[in-house]
Symmetry: C2
Subunit: 210 residues, 2 copies
DNA sequence: CAAAACATAGGGGAAACTCCCTAATTGAAG
DNA sequence: CTTCAATTAGGGAGTTTCCCCTATGTTTTG
């Protein structure tokens, strides 16, 4: 009796194979689709509306939280277990806030995920030990306000003070003040150090893939 | 008859499982050790001196080329197939220069690796299609001179024009000119973009691995 | 050898950044 | 209700980038 469906999305074939095997071994569950990029992940979610979906948040063609929210939009009842290979703390934090059901890193013990399946299917939430530790560590070091984080992210994406001011509808002087506050909070003395910090913490949107 | 030995080093359990299964299925081969971090990878290489070793270059405790060279030192006859999950072009280039036998990305088709095993065992070299494309793309874009690369690296590590000038014993103006040339070569228009590029390419010393 | 690339160093000006202030409004915490 | 943090916005001075030049000596390459 197979009444539970699952979709596996990951661009690493080995990981995909492992997860498919694991999910197919789960009683009553069948993997009905596999995706190796963000776009087909969303498509599969739309067509199959699976009960469970594993989602890598770093795949070609569409990255990060965008894929998550798209899947969510087209199949709101699907329970989504996010697997992050890259350890982008900011992304994890966002997904946590966006309400991902499961959060695992690819370094997590796989049995952790296996044991989580029934919980996830019931609508529960599971955050693996190492993912939780990562989020904690991040939130404690990040004493930046929401606005400051937003502006830091824009800076890290190569935007200048002026363009940031324009996109946010603020005075350039305000943006400058925020940046100044960020720098004193993070104890850095130049854009270079600030950038190094920001990029280290994974605040880049697009090109952390290469 | 099992006369070939192999060691699998990868911090992702799913990947490890997949590779172990694949290698054990190879005629006459047996996986005699698994490592989930750089240190135990080196230890296993030292104790087992396997014929073949798969090596992830982004693992906890010791990263990148250091692990490769250590393995090489303790077991020079072991054929090493490098798997890179993170797409650090600089690292790939270095490993290529250091003479890694096999180079695959985790996005590679696994059959590519499977078919490569006999070639690797004979001492041949195999670079998967996508890894080769990556290296080509990198070497063609990186037209920076030695001095320019050095200065870019210093910039990426948070040094200012002045301090760079002092450490290199140059005029600040010279450093500035180099930076300017770098920026026009890389087609970026600000420190922010330059930093983004540099960090992406893995020019940071310590913490580009997070 | 000649040409090209590289490394060195500087002038000058517009723009951006860095750091010192003040100050009004808002919303949350005690 | 009061205090505190956050957000907004600005003044002003000094420094650094950024981008345009010129110029000389060396090294590499065709």
């Amino acid at each position: 009796m197979r009444n539970l469906t699952a979709v596996v999305a990951d661009d690493h074939q080995l990981i995909r194979d492992g997860l498919v095997k694991l999910l197919n071994a789960y009683r009553g569950m069948e993997v009905v689709g596999e995706a190796d990029n963000g776009i087909s992940a969303v498509t599969l979610a739309k067509t199959h509306k699976p009960d469970l979906m594993t989602l890598d948040i770093a795949m070609p063609h569409a990255q990060g939280i965008a894929v998550y929210t798209e899947v969510r939009r087209w199949s709101p009842d699907t329970k989504i277990a996010v697997f992050s290979g890259i350890t982008s703390v900011a992304l994890m934090r966002d997904l946590y806030a966006a309400g991902a059901h499961g959060m695992f890193t690819k370094r997590s013990d796989i049995s952790e995920f296996e044991q989580s399946i029934p919980i996830l299917l019931k609508g529960g939430r599971v955050i693996s030990a190492d993912a939780a530790a990562m989020i904690d560590a991040a939130t404690e070091t990040t004493s930046l306000s929401a606005r400051e984080q937003q502006i830091l992210s824009l800076i890290a994406n190569g935007q200048t003070t002026k363009t940031i001011a324009k996109t946010l509808g603020l005075s350039p002087k305000t943006v400058e003040n925020h940046r100044s506050n960020i720098m004193s909070k993070l104890e850095v003395g130049s854009m270079a150090e600030l950038l190094a910090y920001a990029l280290r913490e994974g605040l880049l949107d697009s090109q952390n893939q290469l």
